[in-house]
Subunit: 243 residues, 2 copies
DNA sequence: ATATTAGATGACGTTACGTAACCTGCAAGC
DNA sequence: GCTTGCAGGTTACGTAACGTCATCTAATAT
């Protein structure tokens, strides 16, 4: 049976020796064997445990909780929750990116930017209200989401739409034509989002846009005004007619 | 001229009152006006400054550096570097997700998973070697990258490829046929990556795959063995012949 | 024989605040 | 007039997850 010293584990797993000693100290990961001189030796099982710890830590749950959970969770459970977590961050990131792009565009267009605009856009991407525990209860839901991705409760699409709609409203207000560069960009992003959401299922997509036209009380979706819809259609018509 | 108290700013910008006092304390953001009683009052300019701070903080650069930089950077510069940062994180996140998915798949296939596999896949997505400064020097490069995305130095595609190649090698070693589900999945992901990279330019794509066949010394790319290439081609043939 | 490693321990430092204890000025209600 | 509550203030200590010395020991390399 092989055993590794702190230094070896440190290099292999890319954690500091100090960290390993710390984990020993707080009884999170005690090496399964100790020398007469107090040297730590880690077994293969210990390494697996460490791996678990690293993953759980990346869910940003505190070490104290990890200690309590570690033995009660299977590798698969951990990985799935990790996956949930990553997906969540992905969606938020994408919203952030889209907003940041909008801001940069606005600066280019306006030179100076109005205060409300900035604060509105930035505020959305802030607070990460979810706690780590949220990534666990889901269970089988993941696999469902994997086969029918990004529809319904997965909120990144929604955020994306809302962000785009804001931009469109802003364009309308500032009388920027759908034929302009900004209009072109909006169309492209809209198409991309639709593609991601419906994965090429054009029928489903059309149906979705039909639903969008209904008042929001009936659908529970973010309402879209007639003006915006018209604008969107003109944007897209402009692009698809292009080539 | 309007002025806001700590409490108002706190609510509006979603930072704690303590944070505002702290920023005052360390001379990062001193309100432009103070009461006889020591009450802080923030001007609109102060709020803009706070916004800058929040963005810079999200680049995870320490407050001390922010203090030194704050007045020397325009809003646009900050936003662009922020954008760079977000893009970087996005690419890493996507690699992480892909790796995590692979791991989950492996558990499903093998029930137990081999140690080396796990560690290999996880290690890639770790250390974020980049420092915040890296997001600044770039300047005009961003816009170039925006028009020709994901080619060359942008390393998320590379990571994706490498991760996929690892999976393929693993499949070959375990004698999993390209016609299997796993093979199908690999083909799908390959196609998706290619689409993202080349944005539908099939000619460029084919050329790229030709280049891939050359030995790596000449191209500087990650080398692909003949076996793998053949496997890939069989996977893809299998999918495109499908429907 | 000596120098260099690779390990160990103990103690203090760090960041960006949270939190508790306690004080102040002012408007509203009794 | 008095209390009460609230929104503001200060001072001071606490926190997480280690990083960073300083100092010590055992084993290996030259």
């Amino acid at each position: 049976m092989k055993r590794w010293t702190t230094g070896q584990v440190s290099k292999q797993r890319n954690v500091s020796v100090r960290t390993l000693r710390y984990y020993d100290q707080i009884n999170l990961l005690t090496p399964s064997f100790k020398d007469d001189n107090g040297r730590r030796y880690y077994s293969e099982e210990d390494l697996f445990k460490l791996e678990k710890i690293i993953i759980l830590k990346s869910l940003s749950l505190p070490l104290e909780n990890i200690r309590d959970l570690l033995d009660r969770l299977s590798y698969k459970q951990i990985l799935i929750s990790h996956h949930n977590y990553l997906q969540d961050r992905l969606s938020k990131l994408q919203t952030s990116i889209s907003n940041t792009k909008s801001l940069i565009n606005m600066i280019d267009l306006e030179e100076s930017l109005s205060w409300e605009r900035v604060s509105q856009l930035i505020q959305i991407s802030q607070n990460s209200s979810k706690k780590w525990i949220d990534y666990f209860e889901v269970d089988e839901k993941v696999f469902l989401q994997e086969s029918i991705p990004n529809l319904g409760n997965n909120d990144w699409t929604t955020h994306q739409y809302i962000s785009l709609l804001r931009r469109i409203e802003w364009c309308i207000k500032h009388d920027i034509k759908p034929e302009s560069d900004e209009g072109h960009q909006i169309a492209c992003e809209l198409i991309e989002i639709s593609n991601v959401t419906f994965q090429g299922d054009t029928k489903l997509m059309e149906k979705f846009w039909e639903v969008r036209k209904l008042p929001s009380e009936e659908t529970g979706l973010y309402p879209i005004s007639e003006v915006v819809l018209e604008y969107v259609e003109r944007c897209i018509a402009n692009v698809t007619g292009d080539e």
